[in-house]
Symmetry: C2
């Protein structure tokens, strides 16, 4: 089984490492497509969403299945660019950073395909690296991608804001790590709604007012504090 | 050594369990104060911020050290309520839920006291359950409490919003758990700023626009999406 991965970003590099353990895998420069194997069983396009049509436009005729790895790009990007059969999507619902090793077996892979044979083939290669493979159409995948942005990117940004806020206060961000770890750990026992703690959910006006005056010199943080507090209180009622 | 804990909420209950392993510990109803031991070495007040003055007002004369456990209440709450010496703060920087067991040894305890002898005594009992005890004045503690709200309460709320958004979409919130765990795991290797991924930080306008149209029917989520995206982009530049 031969897999060519087009794209050398975070996702492409990780998929290369995962698949290369099992299959004959190559990683291809998306600009030159140099070394692309037209006889590969799978051509996996792992580039930014806006670059997918560009890659499809210059892709030569290939024998195998063509799949992209984007959460928010529909399968119809292939049809709109003149391809019809043997195309699909292989979306890993994970955050990838270079130079970090991951347990691929835990990563949910979401599969969509133009036809059932292609779907079966994509299921098969995804299942060779992950225990968590399922079908998801473009609409569900788009929603999961939005949820992933809230649950990962925005969450991480709240930590970045905390880090910046504490910067220079004679305390390290790492003092928050036991709290952050426990916040995640609760999710294995409780739904996030049940796990909610803090002044907003217990309507502790005294503490909320103190926090807002603490943030008087940090208008951007104050705006986020107010919006998140309102949102927590709206959900409560 | 005798410790009386006033307050039976999440923090009070957990401190009771932790201290009761080592010391003669009682947990006291904050309304009646029934059974309070005026000879206890420590009286720990673990009630909501706004109830601390009420408890102090009805507290009989006691022999030992009186401490509260609030992040955002200054040590001056004691002085303002007619107490002077042998008072302090024992603030555990953690999120507590009932019926969950915790590794207390990892919890940062932040100590402040009216005098060095009281500080030493509070350090001593905190160090008997945690390896992570440090001094922090009321101003630093207030800032840490704000950072904890961003890093824990608001983070958990983003997960609650994701859960609600996916509800009814034929997919479980648990599909996001590997992503969430990796988001946290990165913090042991990278600063949150370095760990930031997603469409906002890479200025992927195509994806941001797709997400905003996905959220057209969810105005509250859309507002949070826009604000967090702007905030990420502001930090980038």
């Amino acid at each position: 089984m031969k897999i060519d991965i087009i794209g050398r970003g975070n996702v492409g590099s990780h998929l290369y490492h995962a698949f290369n353990e099992i299959y004959e895998t190559k990683i291809i420069n998306p600009h030159s497509l140099e070394g692309l194997n037209q006889d590969a069983d799978f051509i996996i396009i792992s580039v930014s969403d806006s670059a997918i049509p560009t890659v499809l436009a210059k892709l030569p005729k290939v024998k195998g299945i063509i799949a992209h790895t984007s959460g928010s790009t529909g399968i119809n990007v292939f049809f709109e660019n003149g391809l019809s059969g043997k195309v699909g999507v292989l979306y890993p619902l994970q955050t990838f950073s270079k130079n970090t090793s991951l347990d691929y077996s835990e990563i949910p892979f979401l599969i969509e395909a133009s036809d059932s044979e292609t779907e079966k083939a994509l299921f098969s290669i995804a299942s060779s690296i992950s225990r968590n493979v399922r079908q998801a159409d473009s609409s569900l995948r788009a929603k999961l991608h939005v949820a992933a942005v809230f649950s990962c990117n925005f969450v991480n940004h709240l930590w970045a804001l905390s880090d910046e806020y504490l910067n220079g206060k004679n305390v390290e961000f790492s003092i928050l790590l036991p709290l952050i770890k426990e916040t995640v750990s609760k999710l294995s026992r409780l739904s996030p709604k049940e796990a909610q703690t803090g002044p907003a959910v217990r309507n502790d006006i005294t503490t909320i007012q103190r926090h807002l005056s603490e943030l008087e010199d940090y208008p951007a943080l104050k705006k986020i504090y107010e919006m998140m507090t309102e949102s927590i209180q709206r959900k409560k009622s």
